[in-house]
Symmetry: D2
Subunit: 129 residues, 4 copies
């Protein structure tokens, strides 16, 4: 099955290689803590916080999806070379704009690495006034 890996707080992880592995494969959501209904709300999803991922033709971050609860909002597909190409490392990133209705957004991101599969971050809840 396509196991979806979940982010684990790397401060709880001992081995440096594992911290790196988890961090560079995890999407992180960056956005304001509240939104206004009917107004543009910017959401950036960026891979990794403290570590960067290779950008080789056979090993790169291929996509980031942004969900509101279980509903797909947007998806970005990347190509190898965008982060500097073979030998380089980088933090794939995309910024979406959404115009939410009042209520609540429960944002989650899911990313795909061509070698290490699907990764999902913890949901971020945003109140939309």
């Amino acid at each position: 099955m396509p196991i979806v890996n979940r982010y684990v707080d790397i401060s709880t992880v001992d081995k440096e290689a594992k911290k790196d592995y988890i961090d560079r494969h995890s999407p992180f959501i960056h956005c304001a803590t509240s939104a206004k209904g009917g107004e543009k709300f910017q959401v950036t999803v960026r891979m990794g916080k403290d570590y960067a991922h290779p950008d080789d033709p056979d090993h790169f971050i291929k996509s980031i999806q942004l969900y509101n609860a279980t509903t797909l909002l947007g998806e970005a597909n990347f190509t190898s070379g965008m982060m500097g190409g073979a030998g380089a490392k980088g933090n794939a990133e995309v910024t979406f704009n959404i115009v939410p209705a009042t209520g609540k957004l429960t944002l989650t991101a899911m990313s795909y690495c061509t070698k290490h599969g699907l990764w999902e971050c913890d949901p971020v809840t945003i109140n939309v006034a």
Copy 2:
């Protein structure tokens, strides 16, 4: 989080509406039981076995992904209207061709419904001689 729903054998489900719900949202893999290394191997993924899914602009099957273990092989994106459009029901379907290396394929499909999210089928194992 984008909950990935898993197929449940509907013969174990009592309510007709739930049988329908699970079946029409689940991708099913159709392929030969064995493959030859270096030769073309056809894999069809079809949504539903006994039930069909609406094809409305705001409610349709948007994509099917085919994985080998955790590695994405191919993805099909559909548009509403392909299955007859508003008011119609159908079984979205795609056929991929892959040329596997000898060993084993562990095929899984994941689909996305614009209203009911991600669904994953049980893996199908294929020996590649």
Copy 3:
């Protein structure tokens, strides 16, 4: 600009290398010559007729899109390795099913090679009775 290359009848092309180049990058539509409204109609799009395309990590057929006139019907995304991987050649292929309304389908396919860009085939007209 993303120049969209158009298929050229390779029997009118002299140089063998150019025949190969055009053929292996062109999507070809394979389907019945007529369809019935409201019934499933199978459309296969296959890359190349007489030549095959590399399947290297940095050089492969990444996608095939199927259009009815200017409307996208479906899209398949492939990954390198599906056609045998580095050193191998193949003819990427996908089969879609559509349920057309009565009238006419004007099918066109557009494909993308990671090194040689977008390619479009001549439209195929199907009467839907």
Copy 4:
């Protein structure tokens, strides 16, 4: 064939409805006028300059692709509802980050409207020092 529409300077267009039609379907590239090799370079692609596009389930901006000459860099897929949903209008937008090599970028964007097909903007040339 999937006609790819090209942007036309709307100051040369007389009819208001046609200005609106062209503008709201055209992707515009927003980025710095020069880049540094090996460093992150931000590229925003936004639909429309003076007009906004509907966000209805059967009529919305579905995707934006960013090309460097004929090479796809990144692609964003949107879903209807992201810009406020049925009855609302908006300017779909995505921001990519790329790390170019020294030389030149020839950026073009191509977008797809579910009713009015593919649209391509004029290329933007960026020197990468």
